[in-house]
């Protein structure tokens, strides 16, 4: 076929054979993913496995060109494969699943691939795939776009910078009290409406009050009265939830009265709050009555304009009724930016609250962007970035014989910023890759390996003893479960040592972090281990050891201090702005949350877990998995 001869011409017969036998993993079938899939097929890669969790939405269709109107709500991965099957010369394998699901995609599953293309839209999956590529030494092509901006970064494990070598922009955080008592910006009211109000009254799993009760919660305020008030308010919201589930529409005005009159009046009673702040003005009963009449009429309001307070109220009343009706069938409703009812509920509730606190109101369109963490996206940037990613893969795999890559450091990353706005004389910038960052907790500061366990009934004590004797670690060790963000054992916590791996719920795919806290005379300590747990239940027999530990070189490193990260943050702010940022918002109230297994304390900043005295978050919210991600 003509295509084939072309590719042979490009890369030569030998390389063509290599190309045909190459297995690619494409993570993501969205904007960049659809473009990449097309490019990889036309480049004649032998096998392409494509993973995506999502289903197709109308707002995808301005760029994800493999999907049509009729495909809405269908899985992206299988639909994309169906759309390209007819002209594909490559073997295509779609999966609808979460790439971070260790049952469906264990480490050894990743092992079959020669190259991984990331076409993801979120930070945690990017970091996860990056880690897998580091475990397996598989080259990774990382990419991302945000509006007109985009980047690609080839990652050659051990040779070049990994995804986590540079600090990524972290989500915004807000103290609880700002959200619950003293908002001063539109976003505070939006977070209140979406993460607090909506969740409490429509979502079945409303957050438990335990942590609020046991005093471990961070409030961002020391005002006892204020904390008391916030707790009381949460309880009262359960009453509202009952009104909603009961489904009596005549009681909707009670909801408004409670949220926007009584609660505000109670807040006003806490005088300390208003010494340096403008007092809020509760709604009046008259306003409410007037809007109730309005809400019975048909409302035709434009999403792009800012409605006045009466329109907000009328809309709030009517949309609450609508959601109440839906609750009868659906029982629980999650906020979804593309679900117009939930969006309008959040938008009007946020705006009414803004009105009360004298904060500017916003249009539904603008609130959608904030509440849904919407990143602008267009086809042009996706095509540009996918094109670059596909092209550079030929160099990563060293298939261009006339342009050989002598060292991975000759490879380029590429960035575009509003394309030609980048600077007067460039369209894309393409610096060569950097060496791994010596401060990187992911690729440099740990030694990685796979532990194969055939008998999960061995105790943690036995397990640790095996590790210590194999790698010569001192007695002062700690063992963490990175997947579940918890401490298993350390110097002053040994409650669990007699439990088995099974008992403590370690499973296939668990990531363990084993670290020696002892320093030698030179002030150095052993490089910590990051171990991937592979359970082989099927193997049984007398002679099979319970644990097979990998052969690893144990090197010594200087215990890290927090300071270099600061510098790094500054260095990177200009460089790595796009893609890595999911724009998620975190409410800082969970850095002491108790893990479900009931360990005595939680671990934050696990990626820096070897800083032994630093298991509590110093910079809470720095790691997305730690605090509650409130907006996603």
């Amino acid at each position: 076929m003509p295509r084939e001869t072309n590719i042979v011409k490009i890369v030569g017969q030998e390389s063509y054979d290599k190309l045909r036998s190459t297995k690619c993993l494409l993570v993501g079938a969205g904007g960049i993913g659809s473009e990449l899939l097309k490019d990889l097929i036309l480049m004649e890669f032998g096998e392409i496995h494509i993973v995506d969790l999502d289903t197709i939405d109308l707002s995808n269709l301005n760029r994800q060109f493999l999907f049509r109107q009729r495909d809405i709500k269908q899985p992206k991965s299988t639909t994309a494969v169906k759309a390209v099957q007819h002209f594909s010369n490559s073997k295509l394998v779609p999966y609808q699943g979460n790439i971070m699901d260790t049952n469906e995609f264990p480490l050894h599953w990743f092992h079959q691939f020669d190259i991984i293309f990331n076409a993801l839209d979120n930070l945690s999956a990017r970091r996860y795939v990056n880690k897998m590529s580091q475990f397996l030494q598989t080259p990774l092509l990382e990419s991302g776009t945000s509006g007109f901006d985009g980047y690609i970064q080839p990652i050659i494990p051990g040779k070049t910078e990994c995804f986590d070598c540079t600090k990524k922009e972290t989500p915004k955080t807000f103290p609880v009290c700002t959200i619950r008592s003293t908002p001063s910006q539109p976003i505070h009211c939006i977070v209140w409406a979406k993460n607090f109000l909506f969740n409490q009254i429509f979502s079945a799993e409303s957050t438990s009050n335990e942590e609020e009760e046991d005093g471990t919660k961070e409030w961002g305020t020391d005002d006892v009265e204020e904390i008391k008030r916030i707790k009381q308010e949460t309880n009262e919201l359960h009453e509202l939830q009952k009104i909603i589930t009961f489904g009596d529409k005549s009681r909707i005005p009670e909801i408004v009265e409670k949220l926007f009159i009584h609660d505000i009046e109670k807040l006003l009673l806490i005088e300390n709050l208003w010494k340096t702040r403008t007092k809020p003005t509760p709604l009046t009963k008259t306003q409410l009555d007037a809007s109730m009449n309005e809400s019975k009429k048909d409302l035709h309001l434009n999403n792009n304009s800012v409605w006045n307070i009466n329109e907000q109220l009328s809309m709030f009343l009517s949309i609450t009724g609508k959601l109440m009706e839906r609750m009868k069938k659906e029982h629980t409703i999650e906020f979804d930016k593309d679900d117009q009812d939930t969006l309008e509920f959040v938008a009007t509730a946020a705006n009414i609250r803004s009105h009360i606190f004298d904060i500017p109101l916003q249009s539904v369109f603008d609130i959608k962007q904030i509440a849904g963490n919407i990143i602008p996206a267009i086809a042009t940037t996706n095509a540009i970035i996918a094109g670059l990613s596909a092209l550079v893969s030929l160099r990563v795999l060293n298939l261009l014989k006339y342009a050989p890559v002598k060292t991975p450091l000759d490879l380029n990353m590429a960035m575009t910023a509003k394309a030609s706005n980048l600077s007067q004389d460039r369209y894309i910038s393409n610096p060569t890759l950097a060496r791994p960052n010596c401060e990187c907790a992911v690729c440099t500061k740990v030694t990685r390996g796979v532990v194969i366990v055939s008998d999960p009934t061995i105790t943690l004590k036995e397990f640790i003893a095996e590790l210590r004797s194999k790698y010569g670690f001192s007695e002062d060790i700690s063992l963490l479960d990175l997947s579940e963000q918890r401490l298993l054992v350390d110097y002053d916590f040994d409650d669990m040592v007699d439990r088995s791996l099974d008992d403590v719920n370690l499973k296939n795919g668990s990531l363990l972090f084993f670290c020696d806290e002892e320093e030698n005379d030179a002030g150095m300590c052993r490089k910590p281990l990051e171990l991937y747990l592979e359970l082989r239940n099927e193997i049984s027999g007398q002679n099979i050891p319970k644990i097979i530990l990998p052969e690893l070189d144990i090197t010594w490193i200087k215990p890290s201090s927090a300071e270099p990260e600061e510098n790094e943050a500054e260095r990177e702010t200009s460089k790595e702005k796009v893609g890595g940022n999911d724009g998620a918002v975190i409410i800082l109230d969970d850095d002491e949350a108790q893990p479900s297994t009931g360990t005595k304390r939680s671990i934050s900043e696990l990626d820096n877990g070897f800083e032994s005295d630093n298991k509590k978050a110093k910079v809470a919210g720095q790691f997305d998995d730690n605090a509650i991600i409130e907006l996603d």
Binding site: N6, I10, M43, Q340, A379, T380, I384, L391, A419
Partner: protein
């Protein structure tokens, strides 16, 4: 929800409306490059096209993604697309087109026609794009001045005009007596109030003309002023902001100069503008000149919005009103001036103008015809590409590397150049973001790119 939601956040409903009603003329054979460009334009919402079909050339080897381009692309637009197919350029009404794109065209007659003086006069912006093997180029030719108001700069510098306050601003600022305020009240002040009073202090107590100070000198005096005023507030967020934005207290003569040069250009180039948008911006700029002449302080209009700042909500709303009031006043006056001169310009455009006075950019029309611009280049790669495109490859003296790179085909190179052409087309049609100036070369084998001004 809206199919175009994600891109509306880049160029708004105004930009989308311009895209929807635009007509693009594509010239060239069915090629990977043409398919890639066209696909993206349809995805973005464009639906009116003229396609001047050229006989196919051999370099693509039928490696197409779409079998029947018009039918397949129609499925990507909710209303389908309208394509007028043509065999020649004869009866094309150039003035009705938004952009012309030559994609992998190798018929030199087309290039020559578009380079003729009488055609050139009526032409919209013209892209010439070509991909061969792993290399490609893109050239933009403008036949008239091109204006952008919404250039979307990366860093938005707020405009406070503290050096030349108008009466309402003075009244607002003077309503605070900072010396008599307690720490709590000081912590609520928006930072422009602090800067304003620092200027007064430097001027009146220290006897220094702030306009003569560098920004670091000013920051020094400001720090001194704050310490004197209330040491307890030094670490308050609004005081920290005041220091961070202290440069905003000083006059910015470069801005004024830049604006003057844009106005000058608008005046001298007005007769060249045929495009409605370009004419309107030119008229707005000329009206602004009249506006500036009649106000003694030479104040250009301020944007309607001031950025968010640390302050109590109440104070923020007050200061916002002062700036909004000034913006309204200028809008009204400009509207009057436009009406006096019988210019019919929509209010919405005037608002965009006032909000973007500092961001207005223009690009001058190309000096030479497309043909002459391209063929006069001294760039080796571009000359080789042109020779391949329009001549016979025999005239090229290539090293082995070049020979390989050019003789090969690579789909992602078309994807990449196609993305770039579509991106620039969208910028031009929406009159937002700064378009390329004016030639881009890409060598995928080395991942090298070059910008040339031809």
């Amino acid at each position: 929800m809206d199919r175009y939601d994600r891109q509306l956040r880049l160029w708004g409903h105004g930009g989308q409306a311009l895209l929807t009603k635009s007509t693009v003329c594509l010239i060239g054979p069915n090629s990977c490059l043409l398919q890639e460009i066209w696909k993206i334009l349809v995805l973005a919402g464009q639906r009116n096209f003229i396609w001047v079909i050229e006989d196919g050339n051999e370099i693509d080897d039928n490696q197409f993604f779409y079998d029947d381009i018009v039918r397949d692309l129609s499925a990507l637009h909710p209303q389908g697309i309208i394509v007028e197919k043509k065999e020649s350029l004869c009866d094309i009404e150039w003035v009705k087109l938004s952009v012309v794109i030559l994609a992998n065209s190798s018929n030199k007659y087309y290039l020559e026609t578009l380079s003729m003086e009488e055609v050139k006069l009526h032409l919209p912006p013209v892209f010439t794009a070509y991909v061969h093997g792993m290399v490609g180029y893109l050239h933009l030719s403008l036949s008239e001045p091109y204006f952008v108001m919404e250039s979307h700069p990366d860093n938005v510098v707020p405009e406070l005009r503290l050096d030349k306050p108008w009466p309402e601003l003075v009244k607002y600022m003077e309503s605070f007596d900072l010396k008599s305020m307690d720490e709590y009240s000081l912590a609520k002040l928006p930072y422009p109030v602090i800067l304003y009073h620092a200027i007064i202090y430097i001027k009146e107590i220290m006897g220094i003309n702030p306009a003569t100070l560098t920004s670091s000198q000013f920051r020094g005096y400001l720090t001194h002023y704050i310490h004197e005023l209330s040491p307890g507030n030094v670490n308050d967020l609004n005081f920290i902001e005041a220091k961070r934005f202290s440069y905003l207290a000083l006059p910015n003569p470069t801005l004024q100069k830049k604006l003057e040069s844009v106005i000058d250009y608008a005046k001298q180039s007005y007769n060249l503008c045929t495009d409605e948008y370009n004419r309107n911006v030119s008229i707005l700029l000329q009206t602004l000149e009249i506006y500036l002449k009649e106000n003694a302080n030479n104040h250009y209009p301020l944007p309607a919005r001031i950025p968010d700042m640390e302050s109590s909500t109440e104070e923020f709303n007050k200061i916002k009103m002062v700036y909004e009031g000034e913006n309204m006043k200028s809008l009204d006056r400009l509207m009057e001036l436009l009406q006096e001169n019988k210019y019919d310009i929509p209010k919405s455009l005037l608002e965009v103008f006032c909000d973007n006075i500092k961001n207005i950019q223009y690009q001058e029309p190309s000096t030479y015809s497309i043909e002459r611009s391209l063929f006069n280049t001294s760039n080796r790669l571009l000359r080789d590409l042109l020779e391949l495109q329009y001549g016979s490859a025999n005239n090229i003296k290539m090293d082995e590397h070049m020979e390989k790179v050019l003789s090969l085909n690579s789909y992602p190179t078309s994807t990449f150049i196609g993305g770039v052409v579509a991106q620039e087309t969208i910028k031009l049609i929406t009159h937002q973001y700064i378009p390329i100036n004016n030639t881009f070369l890409f060598d995928a084998s080395k991942n090298e790119s070059t910008i040339l001004r031809l």
